[in-house]
Symmetry: C2
Subunit: 559 residues, 2 copies
């Protein structure tokens, strides 16, 4: 039998994990990898960090070379090589060498499509100006680095992961940064409140922000690019970088008649087979399934891409031993200056859009023992299915320990754990690493308290004269940032001051972090009041522009 011919289009995450796994499973196969660019398997997630100098050595971003992959895995890697056409009938691909311009047909028994996705650019006047960039590969990165000088005015368009990373790194290089974002906040994938600390971080670091806005045109006037906003404002900039999302590189697949989604992603089954069973696809170009409800999603992240490539190779060579790709829950993380935001599973926003029922709590706790130096507050929002208690999603922000909590909750979501299970997760505790009751346990406690009817929660401060707003924060804090229209009774004196409240009107109890208000609500409920606690407290609820409502506070044991 002739060795199997494997042809791989795309030599980064999905393509190379496919090719190397295929080699480990089959020593005889002929494996050819085509890469459009000059670099194979480069670290695309590291590009922003080299721009800012945080990753000082450019060479560290080029993980593999064709020579190295030949030696290690006997791969035939062809860089600067474009695939032009798939001939499914004859099972061959027309390729062109971008240097020599020579064309040839390469045959395959199995084809892997892992061409990735390209950054979106709006079709507006002036967008082709040489000072307008996107960031996809090392060459884009080099051009941006070459252009940047301290003091320059740069505009980052798009407040997603890459936009925030870019913005931070350009700021680090001494550029003056503006952020233009189509939505009302960065990371539109997140629920707004939980990323308020990131919004604050932009403010503290002097980033000029333009929310609910977008560009309509660019006009060059000498050295300056005049950037026209939809609101009529004009920004003057030396450079503009678009990071407003990506579009799957699926033209080749479309022309070959493979089934695509409406958004243009290649549709695959659980073994990454396209509508042609001899053609597989993986990475940013494909549409897979969400892991819980099973609806179709496209997740352009490195982790899924790597694992999808492996699944496809297993399906070809391990047959019945191959495990299907189980779908994605969209776990993601980003650092912005000192703050980290991470999320996994469903957001409240996405559940509302899908008309699914859910419950949610927001809790605060330090990442490690509060008495151990460097304690920092984490804000965690937990979302679950009311009927079953099964955890659907979680989002968190904080300066440290956020990645750990989201990874634990991603695991819990994949395992279909319930809010009861979270109460008794047994996580590692020593003062430098955690607390005896981890914030995840606390989220479980809060959720089960709500489920068991021990506390009623509300996620906003109602503007309703029929309710009483009770501020139970300690006097010094309440004095510093008073809450207009609230009755102030510090929790420690509440039992003695119940006479100050009207038993016939609901009481909305408020503190800074949502814990003391829960304690107070328990006292009130047992004394016959209709008490409702503000989930998660004031922190992150109002934004800084609301003045008195929200004041960033240092952690206080009594609040």
């Amino acid at each position: 039998m002739n060795p199997m011919q494997l042809l791989v289009i795309g030599g980064v995450a999905g393509g190379l994990s496919f090719a190397t796994r295929a080699r480990r499973l089959n020593e005889e196969a002929e494996i050819t990898v085509l890469e459009r660019g000059p670099d194979i398997s480069f670290a695309n997630c590291g590009l922003p960090y080299h721009i800012g100098g945080e990753i000082p050595n450019r060479d560290s971003l080029t993980i593999q070379t064709p020579e190295n992959l030949k030696e290690m895995f006997r791969l035939n890697v062809r860089i600067n090589c474009n695939a032009l056409q798939i001939d499914r009938e004859k099972k061959r691909v027309l390729v062109v060498d971008r240097i020599s311009n020579e064309q040839e047909w390469i045959s395959y028994d199995r084809l892997m499509l892992a061409p990735g996705a390209r950054p979106l650019m709006p079709d507006i006047p002036g967008v082709n100006d040489p000072a307008v960039f996107t960031l996809r590969n090392l060459q884009d990165m080099d051009r941006i680095i070459e252009m940047t000088r301290p003091g320059m005015r740069a505009v980052v368009v798009g407040g997603g992961y890459v936009g925030l990373e870019l913005l931070e790194q350009l700021h680090k290089k001494g550029l003056r940064i503006s952020l233009v974002q189509l939505h009302s906040h960065v990371l539109t994938y997140f629920d707004k409140r939980v990323i308020q600390p990131l919004q604050d971080e932009l403010h503290v670091n002097g980033i000029e922000t333009w929310f609910n806005n977008h560009f309509t045109a660019f006009n060059r006037e000498g050295d300056v690019l005049k950037c026209q906003l939809a609101t009529g404002d004009v920004l003057e900039a030396d450079m503009v970088i678009f990071s407003i999302g990506v579009r799957p590189e699926s033209d080749l697949a479309r022309e070959a008649g493979l089934v695509l989604s409406e958004a243009g992603h290649i549709v695959v089954n659980e073994f990454m087979q396209t509508s042609d069973p001899d053609i597989y696809a993986a990475g940013d170009v494909v549409q897979t399934r969400e892991r819980y409800f099973g609806q179709r999603v496209a997740v352009a992240l490195a982790g899924p891409a790597n694992r999808q490539g492996r699944v496809a190779a297993d399906h070809i060579f391990l047959q019945s031993l191959a495990q299907p790709y189980p779908g994605s829950i969209g776990t993601s993380i980003v650092r912005l200056f000192g703050m980290v935001a991470a999320g996994t599973g469903w957001t409240e926003q996405a559940l509302v859009e899908s008309s699914r029922s859910y419950n949610t709590v927001t809790v605060h706790e330090h990442q490690h023992a509060s008495y151990y130096p460097g304690a920092e507050m984490i804000m965690l929002k937990l979302i679950w299915e009311p009927e079953t208690g099964i955890v659907l999603g979680a989002q968190a922000t904080g300066r440290d320990g956020v990645d750990k909590r989201i990874d634990v909750l991603a695991t819990a979501i994949i395992a279909r754990m319930t809010i009861d299970d979270l109460c008794h997760l047994e996580l590692a505790y020593a003062p430098p690493f955690g607390t005896a009751r981890d914030i995840i346990n606390i989220a479980g406690f809060a959720a089960t308290n709500m489920r068991d009817g021990l506390v009623q929660l509300i996620n906003y401060i109602p503007d309703d004269p029929a309710v009483q707003i009770l501020d139970v924060r300690p006097a010094p804090i309440a004095k510093k940032a008073p809450l207009d229209g609230a009755i102030h009774i510090p929790y420690a004196t509440l039992r003695k001051n119940l006479g100050k409240l009207d038993r016939n009107r609901p009481v909305i109890v408020i503190c800074m972090l949502g814990r003391t208000s829960y304690f107070a609500a328990r006292v009130l409920a047992q004394k016959g009041f209709h008490a409702v606690s503000l989930s998660g407290g004031l922190r992150g609820l109002g934004s800084t522009e609301k003045g008195g409502l929200y004041a960033p506070c240092s952690p206080c044991a009594t609040c």
Copy 2:
């Protein structure tokens, strides 16, 4: 109806979590907390860190005061108060005020026993010398601090969590430290290989170690304490601190006729009820169940104690809504200088002792993208049940990111996830936080590869002339730390050099971290060799005393 009388013996983790939860569930109950010492709810896990000055402020260790607990939770806290006798028939406890020496009977409807455990001291001559210490409370801590001076010789006895924390902090204060340990390595709860990096850390930091040894007597000669070891050696010391384990404070329970375990722990059911249903117990004094196989265990840790107290309060006041305590998996963590060790679930050693079947792999990966500054290698040992693939235990060491991986795996164990599930955990990835294939995914890949017959693994280097030892490390590394008796063929040249190997004898393939040897074993297996890969490579396998075998190496992409 009269308010319920709750009496709590012990005012730290289990006792106070019981009392405060009880108050939140019942505003009317009369709740009295008796604490033997002068401090309520102090941070006992923080004691070693104040000795070393890492937690500079002593006050931060006293989390609550009786006054504060009165205000917040209407608790009647009595410090310096000893319980002398339980009269189960009349449901009352005889207590003595240690300051006034006055005795009185206090009645209860429900009693909570949370007296904790006391440090063990061996019954050997001279052990009562004032320079011989244990560390349980703030007063012990103060005495140790008062005595310590830079340059002093201190001996820490016991290489468990507290022993290692103490040793590190005393070293930080400039003392010269010896460690005496009964076993062959520190953290006897861990499997030996995975904590080798901690053993190395002791060596690098100049800690004198006496393994497989213990003291038989102490003789004071003027200012010097002569400490007699079982091996005949004598250590001269200025102070000695024992941290060789704890003994449950269960005398009161025993005298009251409650059922105890052989080791003296109070036996409780899943709602923390003792053999007397009106008496509950929680924390270091109780025996609960291991969560997977259900055998009885005693886990003296703050996290379980806190959650047990809460379960007991729920059982009293929430009745059918109360969730049982699900048992423990023994998740734990310790930092020693720059190195962290953490574990969860079953160890190989414990499985061998219980005659249970298991499989294991050891893998290495960085905590975050290798090209991002500060990348550090983690060593992870994964243990699973061969019949089901269910994960039973995990242990890890490394400088960073160890807590996260063990917490994820603790969650996976509680959820009864399998090695297949680990392959597709979707964990948060950005260069500062993880890798596109997390070490946990890699452990899943390695385990399923083994299960699917793709690779045979071995955990040691056999001393057997019938096998060939094949060293596939790159030439510079193999030259620096040669492997005696091995055939050296760098992996990159293996395919061209198969003729150097004997096809009729098994090949044990070896590299530094266990990854390249797996690649090589796949090549060999497909070429008809009987190839076996050394799981986890050489790192941590031999100890430093074996010289050439083990050389601590910086991470290398090709190994």
